[in-house]
Each structure stands twice: as C-alpha cells, then as structure tokens.
C-alpha cells in the first residue's frame, strides 16, 4: 500500500464504521415503529400535548385579531355565549338560553350560573355586557352584521341586547368562530389597550400559563371548569381537559414541523406542506386532517383602473379555466373543490349554487367578445400577489396566462404578505389581488362584498340586496334574497371571482392521541394521550 493510500485508510475506516452504525440503528428503529403501531391505545388522563403551530399569534385576544393562530389557541381559553355545531347550528355555551322578542329588536340571554373565570371570579352579567359591547366596537364585521346594538344588564344572570332594526343572523354572528365574542372579566376589558388585552383570563377548559415569544404558548387544564352537560358536538357540548398541558410550539418552517411529527416530538402539527400528504396518509403512525380553509379569490379594483369596467370583469370571469388555476395553485385534487357557492357547501343554511352557469365557463371566444365591448384599451393590468403563500403566487401565474389568452396584458406584482395587506388599501397601487377568504357565518359578512373593503364594491343593487337580507322577516326570506344576490354577483356585477374552495392539512399521531376533532380549527378538549 502506498504512503498516500495509508493516509486515507483511517478516513475510509471511519466512514465504513459510520455506515454500519447507521444501518444497524435504522433497522432497530423500524422494529420499534412496528411495535408502536400494534400497541395498546387505552386512554389516560394527564400528560402534555405538544402541538406545532405554523405562526405565532400577534395577540391572544380573539376579539381584536382576525388571524388564524389567535383563533386556534384562544378557543381553548375563552368561551362565547353561543357556539356553532359542525352543521352550523347555533348552540348554547355560556348562555343557557336566548329569547327573541316578537318585534325582533330584543334578545335576552340567560347566563349559566356558577361559571368561573380562570382568576376565580364568577362570570356574571356585568362581565358579559362589558365583553360584548367591546366586541361590537372592535369588530367591524360584527358591527356590520348586527348594526347598532347595545348590551345591558337586566339582572346578575340576564343580559339584553337591543338592536335598532330586526336583523337576520344575530345569533350566528355572536356564535361565529373568527374574531369571536370572547367573554372576559369586566376589569380586564376596562383596562384593555387597543391592541388587545394584556391579561389572558377566560372561562374555557384550559387556562393561560405562559407565552415565550417565538417559542411556545402553554395552556393548562383548568380544574374549576364547569362544562355544559350536552353531548360534545364540534364547539358545542361537554368540554373536558384530558391533558395537563397543551404546549403550542411555534415552528415556522414546514419541513421542521413535518420532521417533528414524524419523530413524535409533536403529537399534532399544523399546515404540513401539501407535497407530503401521501407520506402522512400512508403512514400507520400519522393521519392527515384535511380542512376547508376558504375560497381562493381574485378581487378586482372597482374604484380605479381598468377593472372599474364591469364588462372587463365579466370577460375575465368568462374566459378563465378555474380548474387549471386550482391545479396550478394546489396540485393534488384533494386540496381544492370546484364550487361557485360564495357561502360554502358545508354551510347548509346559506349555501346556494345560484349563478353556477357563469362559473368556470372557460369560454375564450365569448370572453374576447366581452373584451371588445369593454373600454379596455390594451393597458397592462397589475395583479398583486405574494410568495409568502405559494398558492397565491402559483394561481396568479396561471391567471396571468389565462387572461393573456383572451387578450389582456398582465403584470404580476409580487410582494411579501405584509406589503400586500398595506398596498391593497391604496386604489392606485393595483388592479386585482389574490387572496383566500375563510368561511363566515352570514352572507352579509362576506368581506369582498363589503363596500369598505379593498376592491370597494360600491354598487347600489348590491347594497339593496345586503339590506334586504339583513332585514328579512325570516331566514327563509333572507335565503331567497341571497340566492338572487349571488346570481347577480356572478352574472352581472362580478366584484371578484371565487376560483374555488381550498383545503390545507394538519397531521396528528393517531397512535398517541385520541378524541381530537376539527371544526373551523383544531378542538383539543376531550383529547387524551394514549398509553
């Protein structure tokens, strides 16, 4: 052996030893996995549940923020007077019952007695009044749906809501899950700064313990929690904290969340990259949870620029192939659904397919004809999008191609998410933008139909419909108007194009936890660790 080769021999030996060690340990590991898959899954109380969340919430005050991360964590700490069951029916929670006056102007909430906040204080009418009146102030969406309203205390356990005119869906809005009407102690509400409460005290089955910024948020079982007796059903019914602690660990990198759930470091991981769906679905240790995230949407600027022309908006809607856009955005067909309902198929009470003949037409010739009839003179239209959400960028690329096929010049303006949210408020800065909208409780809460929202759909007929829905004598009448309104949106006004519904997926370790359910977010009460 030459001297040079001798110098290398130690390196080769080390590499060989390392490979042997790797192979040996991998096979040992496989057998361990098999053992765990066939193992016992009896329920045990206690223990810590580790949940990897994809983003840190800006605040834990659910009345203030519309972010998903806030909602996901806060729903375990705070409760509302009413909640929604998975079929979107309103159910009692902190309110035992609700009476509606004959004129529809007064709602009387009878509160459950003996419910205690996490600071030991009993929840009474004064806390509910303070919380609900603040909610009506900080949540424009609530104020828009309910109109001018005021909560007042009738007695220690009774609260009254008086509104100016009869309105459809008041209780649905109070029960809604996003920017929800959390009940907090009066003192905390009174001292709350505008950016959100600083003391996190609710009545839920878990109490807030600690928030280490960019690391974790810890909530612990609240021993004095008083559940309702009804059978658990989504957010409704009996809630029981079966684990001692839930550690919501902030893990912003998707591959790290995937790695952590694969090794069992976390029992639940939010927002796993969609490319890994098959890997999770075919695993015996992990299961995916597909959840409807909302509707992929292109919103037009109706205040300034070429899309102020209704014919041009109709041309785009007529010419695009929605399926191609959805495939481009999400790839796997498990992650999208072609549907034109502006309220979602899962919301039986409000869903309608009115105007479906104007959805996903993919009629390039008719689109070109509409383009000719419009005032479009060949200028470049700017689509605002972001790479922070890959689906947003990918769908914009396909939309650009589709629009160019019918003769519209398109330029993509790709910015980060924070820039997009600011830029879209400036009518001079864009012509269309791509975003996703999560489900809302009432058609009147649909953001891109709100005249004040970016896109500015200021249209007399649209506003008439909205008002008619709000003041309809019954839900049935309101639904009939909503059907007409949806048809008008697709056929004539086209303030935005809902491309389709989209899903994201979370993963959990099915051998290690049980009882976890999902409704507009993860539900981790009644969830236990198995042995």
């Amino acid at each position: 052996m030459s001297k040079r080769l001798k110098n290398f021999s130690w390196l080769i030996t080390v590499l060989l030893l390392l490979s042997v060690a790797l192979i040996g340990c991998s096979s040992e590991n496989t057998s361990k996995e098999k053992d765990s898959a066939s193992g016992d899954t009896a329920v045990k109380k206690g223990g810590d549940l580790h949940v990897a969340i994809d983003a840190q919430p800006p605040t834990l005050d659910p009345q203030v923020s519309t972010t998903t991360a806030t909602k996901e964590i806060a729903r375990h700490i705070f409760e509302t007077l009413l909640v929604l069951s998975p079929d979107y029916e309103v159910q009692p929670m902190l309110a035992e019952s609700v009476d509606k006056s004959e004129d529809g102007l007064t709602y009387t909430f009878h509160l459950r007695q003996g419910v205690k906040f996490h600071n030991g204080k009993e929840m009474t009418a004064e806390d509910v009044v303070a919380s609900m009146n603040r909610w009506l102030t900080v949540s424009t969406r609530a104020a828009n749906a309910i109109g001018k309203g005021q909560f007042t205390e009738k007695d220690k356990y009774t609260v009254e809501l008086k509104i100016e005119k009869p309105t459809v869906g008041v209780l649905d809005v109070i029960a809604s899950t996003n920017q929800f009407a959390a009940i907090m102690p009066k003192e905390i509400i009174e001292n709350a700064p505008k950016e959100g409460v600083t003391e996190i005290v609710g009545t839920g089955p878990f109490k807030f313990v600690e928030w280490k910024p960019d690391q974790y948020i810890q909530v612990a079982k609240y021993d004095d929690y008083k559940p309702v007796e009804a059978k658990p059903d989504g957010l409704a019914g009996k809630k029981e904290a079966l684990v001692d602690n839930i550690m919501f660990e902030v893990v912003t990198d998707g591959s790290t969340r995937l790695g952590g759930i694969t090794t069992g470091q976390y029992q639940i991981a939010y927002q796993i990259p969609s490319d890994n769906y098959e890997q999770i679905a075919s695993s015996s240790d992990m299961k995916p949870i597909l959840n409807l995230y909302g509707g992929l949407t292109m919103v037009f600027n109706k205040k300034q620029g070429p899309f102020t022309d209704q014919k041009l908006r109709q041309a785009v809607n007529t010419g695009i192939n929605n399926k191609d856009v959805l495939v481009g955005a999400y790839g796997n067909d498990k992650f999208y659904r072609l549907d034109n309902g502006l309220m979602y198929k899962d919301q039986a009470k409000w869903y309608t397919d009115a105007g479906k003949e104007y959805y996903n037409q993919n009629d390039k010739e008719k689109a070109k004809q509409l383009l000719k009839e419009s005032n479009y003179n060949g200028e470049e239209v700017r689509i605002l999008t972001t790479r922070d959400y890959e689906y947003s960028y990918n769908s914009a690329v396909v939309l650009k191609e589709e629009m160019e096929k019918i003769g519209i010049k398109v330029k993509l303006d790709v910015v980060d998410w924070a820039t997009l949210t600011t830029k879209r408020n400036d009518p001079a800065a864009w012509d269309a933008f791509i975003t996703g909208f999560s489900p809302v409780s009432l058609p009147t809460q649909t953001l891109p139909l709100d005249p004040g929202y970016a896109g500015w759909p200021v249209d007399e007929k649209l506003q008439q419909y909205t008002e008619q829905i709000r003041t309809a004598p019954s839900d049935k009448d309101a639904y009939a108007v909503w059907e007409e309104m949806q048809e008008y949106v697709w056929k004539d006004y086209v303030p935005y194009i809902k491309i389709g519904d989209y899903y994201t997926f979370h993963a959990y370790r099915n051998q290690e936890i049980k009882g976890n359910t999902y409704f507009e977010g993860m539900i981790l009460w009644n969830t236990s660790l198995t042995k």
Binding site: T66, V138, R141, Q179, P213, T256, T262, G452
Partner: protein
C-alpha cells in the same frame, strides 16, 4: 493603549448614527405595517387605521425617528408591538440561544479547522492537501440550512438520536440544553470550519517558508515544536481575524439555520420582526448587532498584541 481603545469606542458613534438612520428609513419606507399584521388579513381598513393612529404610526417619519433616538440615548429601545415587552428584554431573551449556539458552533469549527488546516499545510501539494481543501470548499459551498436538513433526516428522523428542532435553556439541564444545539452547531460549525481551515492552511504555508523556520529546523528542533510553537503562533493573526469575523457573524444570528432548527435566537427574532413589521425590535436588534460586531473586531485587534509581541511593540512606540 487606553487612548487607542477609547478612540475605537468613540468611532462607534458615527457608525451607529448612520446605521440607525439607514435602518429606520428602510423599515419605514417599506410598505406594510404592524397594525395590519396584528389585526389579521380580514381586518377592515378602518380598524387598521385606528390602531395605526393609536400606535403613533401615522406621525411623520422624522418625528418617529427623533422620538426613538431620544429613547435610545436614555437606554430605552422602545417596546415590541407584538411581544408585550421592552425591546431590550426581547433581545436579551433571544441572545441566550444565539450565544450558546455561536459558542458551540465556533468550538466545532475550531476543532475541525485547525487540525485540518495544519495537516494540509504540512502536506502541501499532496493529494491529501488537495482532498482536504476540496472538502473545505464543499463546506463553504453547501448552504448551512441544507446541511442542517440532511442532519435532521439522518440524526433525528432515521436514527432518532436527537430532537428534530427546538430549544431548551441551560436551566433545563446541560444535556437537555446541548442536545437541541448539536445539529445546528454542526451545520453552522462545518461551514465556518471550512473558512478557518483554508485560512489556517495558507497562513501556515506562508510562515513555513520563512527563514526562521528553516533556522529552527537547522537547529534540530523537534518538528512538533517547529509547527506548534513557532509556525502556528506566527501564523495565527490572520486565523484569529477569521475566527473573530465568523464569531461575529454567528452572534449576529444565523437566521435561516435558526429557523430550520426552530431556535429562538437573534436571527429568528430579526426574520420574524421583519415579517410582522415590528419596527422597534428590528431597529433595536440591528443596532445591537452592529455594536456587537464592532466590539468583537475591537477585541480581536487587541488580541493581536497578546499573540504577536511585534504588534504590541508597534502600538507602544
């Protein structure tokens, strides 16, 4: 010596002033604001404007700058919009993980680089030398985070020896603390090692060619003594400079590696703060990083004198 240190510290003032103005302007001229991020994607424009007014974000930029600088001179870097605490406290909290990681990475880097560099220098021109330098080139070329992901797949997912990601403070126990840092330290350390090894090799080769080394050998000194006592010591100044620079880079925060391994250090603090437009934290952190970088360079300059008496003598004369 004292006047030299004082001069260096005073030279920090214009640097910090320029850095503060540039950072402030870049942040405030970039679209996006903390109020929109705080209220979420579906908040109304009206609510966002109200919160912006409340946070003083609609005041003229120069007014916001002077307000901030005034605070800085009083030792107050402002409050984080998102963390409900002063920026100083947020920085201190995030500095711990970064320093732990930087020290561990630097130890890894030095342990790999010095023997490798010395060995390559001694075998200069041979296949061994070329192989080692080739490997070090690979080390510089592979992005840290990519190497980190490979480590996760092998050491955490396949072998289950180490946790995938996360951080435990030293108070949780030494092993608990270190086991979360091993993979990121290797990922970062090997990259830095490549740089240090190349510098060690070239500096050693240069010194080995000098006449005093020939004299030492002619005197019949043991080769080990020639290498470690005479050559390495004389070759160490450029090596120390690189070590100092790499350490500075590590303390400034290895943003991507910290994100991949979910270590709540300075790098992740900067990235998260930029994403959520937490102006005060970005400004404060960049200021802190600048000071740290300049101070580390100062310490390295002072160490030159400790290692090389000639530098010390020049400064004294």
């Amino acid at each position: 010596m004292k006047s030299y240190i004082l001069k260096r510290i005073l030279s920090l003032i214009p640097v910090l002033l320029i850095v503060s103005i540039v950072v402030f302007m870049i942040i405030h001229l970039t679209p996006g604001d903390p109020a929109s991020v705080m209220l979420g994607p579906e908040a109304s424009q009206e609510d966002v404007e109200q919160l912006k007014n409340h946070l003083g974000l609609n005041d003229p930029v120069y007014q916001q700058y002077f307000h901030w600088v005034e605070g800085v001179f009083q030792g107050d870097l402002g409050d984080s919009f998102f963390m409900d605490k002063p920026v100083t406290a947020a920085i201190i909290e995030h500095l711990g993980p970064t320093i732990s990681l930087a020290i561990l990475s630097q130890i890894t880097a030095i342990l790999i680089a010095l023997p490798l560099g010395i060995f390559a220098a001694r075998k200069r021109g041979t296949v061994t030398d070329q192989t080692f330098m080739g490997i070090s080139l690979l080390g510089i070329s592979i992005p840290h985070f990519l190497f980190g992901l490979f480590l996760i797949i092998i050491l955490a997912i396949n072998l289950r020896w180490l946790p995938v990601a996360g951080y435990r403070p030293l108070s949780a126990g030494l092993w608990e603390h270190i086991k979360y840092l091993i993979m990121p330290a290797i990922a970062l350390g090997t990259g830095q090692a490549a740089l240090i090894a190349r510098m060690t090799r070239s500096s050693m080769v240069e010194t080995l060619n000098l006449n005093f080394i020939k004299t030492a050998r002619a005197k019949g000194l043991h080769e080990r003594k020639v290498i470690y006592k005479h050559t390495l010591r004389n070759a160490f100044i450029p090596i120390l400079t690189v070590i100092g620079q790499t350490f500075g880079t590590l303390v400034a925060g290895a943003a991507v590696t910290e994100t991949v391994f979910n270590i709540p250090g300075i790098g992740q603090l900067i990235i998260n703060s930029v994403e959520r437009r937490d102006y005060m934290v970005i400004q404060g952190t960049v200021l802190m990083v600048t000071v740290t970088y300049v101070l580390i360079n100062l310490i390295v300059d002072l160490l030159y004198g400790v290692i090389d008496p000639r530098v010390r003598l020049k400064k004294e004369s």
